[in-house]
């Protein structure tokens, strides 16, 4: 069954890929493109969850440029949310760091998507090095995280809650945790300050 579901999701992603490119060439379908991409991201999350639950989620850690990653993310969300002021700040980031660029991108994309949905007018994507850690920070100027989310991040996703399934956040925590150096583990934390702040810390 698992193989079948994976194969079906694989097919759907292929079709979404074509759909996204087709919509884009029409030029008047920014919203629809965004929906196609969001659907694909949800499917990817589902697959990642399956692998994570089976104990098969592994990070392929190599060097990558945090500034490039933020610049790519900012460009993506600027086109999906043209009314928001989306800003990438990587002056304090090291030129390279070690992480699984694909997994971290997925984790940050989910957080950036949430930030864009909740922001009033602006989202800041930042990276900096601090105390031997690389810290990615995604901040919006929306209403902030609800209190119950701030209390615990490592809660298993639930089928229905006021704030979605929590799958993206759950996976972000697991992905961060796959990054280990000298017994220090990567982690995710949430905070509120003039809006919501999502932090992903990598050793």
């Amino acid at each position: 069954m698992k193989d079948i579901s994976a194969a079906v999701i694989h097919d759907v992603k292929n079709q979404l890929a074509e759909l996204a490119l087709r919509l884009e060439t029409r030029g008047d379908a920014v919203l629809e493109t965004g929906i196609a991409l969001a659907v694909a991201r949800r499917l990817t999350e589902l697959l990642l969850l399956q692998r994570q639950q089976a104990g098969m989620l592994q990070a392929n850690i190599d060097s990558a440029s945090p500034a490039d990653l933020l610049q790519e993310l900012a460009a993506d969300y600027r086109s999906q949310f043209p009314n928001l002021d989306i800003h990438a700040e990587s002056a304090g980031a090291p030129p390279y760091w070690f992480y699984d660029a694909v997994l971290i991108r997925l984790a940050l994309a989910n957080a950036a998507h949430n930030a864009c949905r909740n922001a009033r007018s602006s989202v800041i994507l930042a990276a900096r090095q601090q105390d031997g850690l690389l810290i990615f920070e995604i901040a919006d100027d929306g209403p902030g995280f609800p209190a119950e989310m701030l209390a615990a991040t490592d809660i298993a996703p639930t089928p229905a809650s006021r704030h979605g399934t929590g799958l993206g956040l759950y996976l972000a925590g697991k992905i961060a945790g796959l990054h280990v150096l000298n017994n220090k583990f990567g982690s995710v934390e949430l905070a509120n300050r003039d809006g919501a702040i999502f932090r992903l810390k990598l050793p």
């Binding site: 890929a17 996204a20 692998r51 592994q58 060097s63 390279y96 150096l181």
Partner: protein, 535 residues
């Protein structure tokens, strides 16, 4: 937005089996300012394109129907140097899980692009990859020329910047140091990197450096550690297997590769290694099974070689199934028409016919195999012909062929192993086989030394006759060919310039450079040639 002029001259090849994706990618790329885009549905057509034109960028889907995948195609291109290092190769994938693709990669593309993506994301990524390509241009060109010491020099120029490409450049430098046998420097570099972060490829690099330095135990320990921590790192299995094989334990070498095969279907290179090891250990059923499956999977794909059919046919013949072997060879005949391939297939046909009791047909096939000039045959083909000669009692011819293989590949341990295997199959004892190989090597060293001594004594005509004669017989023996070029160059200096002599000298020099651009003797030849042009 996309910079139109920036992309307009970039030549792009798109390989995707899905028609919708092909046309969509073409439109997207052309909207972004790429004016030279070609799209093909299969690697067969992609191969035709890359052999007739140089591409700057190849976008290849991972999943290409039921046959060879994008990863296996890349390995095929890289192993045969069919694309430049300067060509950016990107694998597009909607694979059910990304790490399935990436962790099992033995030959890395420049990047992976996960479906779905927008035109803007594609542009953004391509722009970055083209920037990186520009940054690494000098290194890429040196790599294409296989000039590893120049690769190291170019890397050293970029390393002090410690910019975002720093680790990439270190990785390239490490590989170049290993290729040029600078094992201690490589080990130092990898240790420095590992002090920063335990990265699997740096651990493997260190293990390889240790093995080159003769610290086999340390290399083995490191590889065990890598496989325990990163069990999906395919390149580590290949290296672990080669360590076992080098230590003489071919059964262990085989088992390690079989384990790798359970994790990833792997590439033809690994399938070949598995079946060769299985053959060498007398497990012809394993060789048959592995190769049959692979050929079934890669049906009609260009990643197949005549050698693969030869391996399968040999395994079948050895198991007393010559009829099946002949059928396999019959299937292969239409696909492979070059001289080395037809010779190899004919030699195997002879063996199968002999096993089937058709001695006349066996003789006929062997005479086809022997009709070609054997001097230029690859070691694997020449040893197969020798094998067939032994089977039909042509011992003198067989021995001459094997001697030729040894002398033409004096430092190639693998070729020597093949010679030994053929001698063993012909009933020669291990000591006898080893003695034959050693005597052949000794003979050619002696000949080389005689030539050099004569040249040093000023007897250039004698030296030239001796060395050029040997060089024509043994075009792969770089020492002989290099010395032939050197003797001719000295003759040009001392006895006057003739066009023919110069042409001959340059021809031998080129043979050496083509096979090994960094070969030390080249500098010596060039220094002498410089005196000629100054006269």
């Amino acid at each position: 937005m996309a910079d139109i002029t920036k992309f307009s001259n970039i030549k792009v090849l798109v390989v995707d089996d899905l028609a919708g994706m092909r046309s969509q990618l073409r439109i997207t790329l052309s909207n972004s300012g790429f004016e030279k885009v070609r799209v093909v549905p299969s690697i067969k057509e992609a191969l035709v394109r890359v052999q007739s034109e140089k591409y700057d960028l190849i976008l290849c889907d991972y999943c290409l129907g039921d046959s060879t995948n994008g990863q296996q195609f890349l390995e095929y291109l890289r192993t045969r140097d069919l694309i430049s290092r300067h060509t950016v190769f990107i694998i597009i994938t909607a694979e059910r899980s990304y790490e399935n693709v990436v962790m099992t990669a033995e030959c890395e593309p420049d990047d992976y692009l996960l479906k779905p993506f927008t035109a803007e994301q594609l542009n953004n990524r391509l722009e970055k990859l083209l920037d990186r390509r520009e940054y690494l241009a000098a290194i890429d060109h040196a790599s294409d020329a296989k000039n590893w010491s120049l690769v190291v020099t170019e890397c050293d120029r970029l390393i002090p910047a410690k910019d975002k490409y720093f680790i990439d450049v270190c990785k390239i430098k490490g590989a170049a140091l290993l290729k040029s046998n600078r094992a201690q420097e490589a080990a130092d570099l990898y240790r420095e990197l590992l002090a920063m972060r335990p990265i699997a490829w740096a651990e493997l690099g260190l293990a390889k450096a240790c093995a080159l330095l003769g610290a086999d135990d340390q290399a083995r320990e490191l590889v065990h550690q890598i496989l325990a921590e990163t069990p999906r790192f395919m390149a580590a299995y290949d290296f672990a297997s080669s360590l076992h094989a080098a230590a003489g334990d071919r059964q262990k070498a085989l088992e390690v590769l079989q384990k790798a095969g359970e994790i990833s279907p792997g590439t033809m290179n690994r399938v070949r290694k598995i079946s060769e090891l299985a053959t060498a250990t007398g497990q012809h059923d394993i060789a048959e099974q592995v190769m049959r499956e692979a050929l079934q999977k890669h049906k009609h794909s260009p990643v197949r070689e005549a050698q693969d059919y030869a391996i399968l046919s040999h395994a079948l013949t050895e198991q007393g199934k010559p009829d099946q072997a002949l059928k396999v060879l019959g299937d292969a005949k239409d696909s492979f028409r070059d001289e080395a391939s037809t010779t190899l297939l004919a030699a195997n046909e002879s063996m199968a016919q002999r096993k089937a009791g058709n001695n006349e047909l066996a003789e006929e096939a062997l005479s086809r195999a022997l009709a070609v000039n054997c001097d230029n045959l690859p070691a694997g083909v020449a040893t197969a012909v020798a094998d067939a000669c032994f089977a039909l009692g042509r011992e003198d011819k067989a021995t001459a062929l094997l001697k030729q293989v040894v002398q033409n590949n004096p430092d190639d341990k693998l070729a020597h192993q093949k010679v030994q295997a053929v001698l063993a199959a012909a009933g020669k004892g291990e000591q006898e086989a080893r003695a034959m190989i050693e005597a052949s090597v000794k003979e050619i060293i002696q000949l080389n030394n005689d030539g050099v001594r004569e040249a040093e004594a000023g007897q250039l005509a004698e030296a030239i006759t001796l060395l050029c004669d040997a060089a024509d017989r043994l075009p792969n023996n770089l020492q002989i060919v290099g010395n032939a070029a050197l003797a001719l160059a000295l003759d040009l200096v001392h006895n006057g310039h003739t066009v023919i002599k110069m042409q001959e000298c340059l021809r031998y020099r080129q043979l050496v450079e083509d096979k090994s651009p960094g070969y030390p003797k080249l500098a010596e030849i060039d220094a002498v040639l410089k005196q000629v042009s100054q006269d």
